[in-house]
Amino acid sequence: MALLSLQGVTKSFGGLTAVKNLTFDVEAGAIISLIGPNGAGKSTVFNLITGIYMPSSGSIVFDEHAIEGLKPHSVAARGILRTFQNIRLFSHMTVLENVLVGRHARMRSAAWDCAFRTPFAQKEERSSDAAAMELLEWIGLSRFATEWARNLPYGMQRRLEIARALASEPKLLLLDEPAAGTNPAEKIGLMKLVQSIRDRGVTVLLIEHDMKLVMGISDYVHVLDYGEEIAHGKPDAVRHDQRVIEAYLGKGA
């Protein structure tokens, strides 16, 4: 049984069908990439999985439970965390606090515990602080722990967003163009990071605009164009697919 499975998922916005009858599986432990030109519907797929949108039709099954129509916070609690194409950090909170917010779903302190700082809350704060610091150490941001998130350089912000998503120890991590807007060296660093995330045991579904970037690290690739899947397969097979080349270079090429 695949970790995540989309069955005939369609999403229309008025007259525009952003995702058309999409079916694919994400096996646990893999890095699966979703690629395609601008406006192909990649981010919409993430928004459907995480519950921002309800599919017009089709089903989404995660860990053997149907999740379509769940609120985003419930989807997160079930173990799907994401990053955003345009960075969405909590700017006026520290780097450490951002990661701690990411741990929200792992924590159990109720309002009562928080207000009175009960022994349970104290213990949980301590262990969460430790886990968050360890994660920051791992991702290379620990020296910025007390810095406001907005003060980090852009590439570091991308990393922080990933750390925040990893903080709740998700089963599936959705990365929406994590390398967008970074320089070539950072891009390579981020792709290495994606691999080491998988090595931590987290399954990764990766959106990338730039086909070349993901070829080296993906186990399997799905190519979207105008909402439809036009090809899927191992990176090498997809790279040479005629329809993929056309979609990327335009029909005239």
Binding site: A76, V101, H104, A111, C114, A115, F116
Partner: protein, 367 residues
């Protein structure tokens, strides 16, 4: 040395540096001594009244400062707290069966009114909190107008515009608070200290971070597993609870309440206090609340007296009769505009906040 001593302090005080704790301790000591040093009871009363301003500012700070929800009619919760207490601690609801009305303990009602105000926070919040920004502001503004109106018009129970008189005053171990401001002064101090501890706890907790995450980016917060609706309802009800407590002490100290004490101006005054001090920052809220309260209760009345004296000596009838307290809302308006133009982060600037956060990293808990 000082700093290592501080790490042993309870109530999360270990977060602060030795200097911060010393400074805070000095202020607390000065405030404790004030009623003894200054025997003018109108001064003590004025400083005591700052207590409810601060409590209201604390409550509104949870909603506006931490969670980023612009709620305009906050005084409604203050009114609900005050009336809840007045109903059951005065002859107001006298009936043949209870010819003296009800006289429930003040101390019990501190908690009950907090709970009632919190419940109204949920009742108001549940249908409105999915509204965003300006819409929420308008709905809460409406609520803030409706509540005092209701208390004014349901005169069969509420005494209408005259309000409720002969509200019971607290009794502690046979000590009657009466109309002497000093015991209220100390009561406010105690309650404020407790509330400060609660606020600081919340600020550095799972819930407090969820609130701030919602303020920063609600969609991203929701994607981190935060049930934003629940968190916002908690912010509303906890903020309202602070106002409920403030209402009880306010009603008891005056021993009489009327709807006019809870109008829109009160809501704006509290908003001005937290904007002035720095939203979301506890020291800022303390400072802003204190400044606004002192302006309101001490400085403007005093300045009026000076103006009268000057007027008498220069034979100006305008100055002799001027009542500067009438201009206070104009003053708050000016404060709001100036702060927003020149210091949108409030008096206690973000650098201080950052330094504070930096210090918090030095505590052994994190290392």
């Amino acid at each position: 040395m000082l700093n290592s001593l501080v790490t042993w302090l309870p109530f999360g005080l270990s977060r602060y540096t030795g200097r911060q704790v010393l400074f805070g301790g000095f202020i607390v000591l000065a405030l404790l001594l004030l009623p003894i040093v200054d025997s003018n009871s109108s001064h003590v009363s004025a400083v005591a009244d700052a207590g409810y301003i601060l409590l209201l500012a604390f409550g509104l700070n949870i909603i506006v400062g931490y969670t980023g929800l612009l709620a305009l009619g906050f005084a409604a919760f203050f009114a609900i707290g005050a009336y809840t207490y007045a109903f059951v601690a005065s002859p107001q609801l006298a009936s043949p069966a209870h010819p003296d009305g009800y006289h429930v303990s003040f101390w019990l009602m501190l908690l009950v009114s907090a709970a009632v105000a919190a419940a109204f926070g949920v009742i108001l919040g549940a249908p409105t909190l999915r509204l965003r920004g300006d819409y929420l502001a308008i709905v809460t503004l409406g609520f803030g107008e409706i509540v005092p109106q209701l208390f004014q018009n349901l005169d069969k129970w509420t005494g209408g515009p005259d309000g409720i008189a002969a509200v019971d005053q607290p009794v502690l171990f046979n000590y009657h608070f009466g109309f002497n401001p000093t015991p209220y002064y100390y009561l406010y101090m105690a309650v404020i200290c407790i509330c400060l501890v609660l606020l600081a706890n919340l600020r550095n907790s799972r819930l407090g971070r969820a609130w701030m995450a919602i303020r920063e980016d609600e969609l991203a917060a929701e994607h981190m597993g935060i049930n934003t609706m629940t968190a916002k309802l908690l912010a509303f009800s906890m903020g309202a609870a602070f106002a409920g407590v403030a209402g009880v002490i306010y009603a008891a100290k005056l021993s009489t309440i009327s709807p006019s004490g809870f109008d829109f101006n009160m809501s704006i005054m509290i908003l001005a206090a937290i904007v002035l001090g720095g939203m979301g920052n506890l020291s800022g809220v303390l400072l802003g609340g204190s400044i606004v309260a002192m302006l309101n209760f001490l400085i403007l009345p005093q300045a009026s007296n000076w103006a009268h004296a000057i007027g008498a000596s220069v034979h100006s009838t305008f100055l002799m009769n001027v009542d500067l307290t009438q201009y206070r809302f104009m003053l708050y308006g000016i404060i709001l505009v100036l702060v927003m133009l020149f210091r949108p982060e409030g008096l206690i600037p973000s650098a201080t906040v950052r330094a504070e956060l930096r210090e918090s990293m030095k505590s052994p808990e994190v290392a």
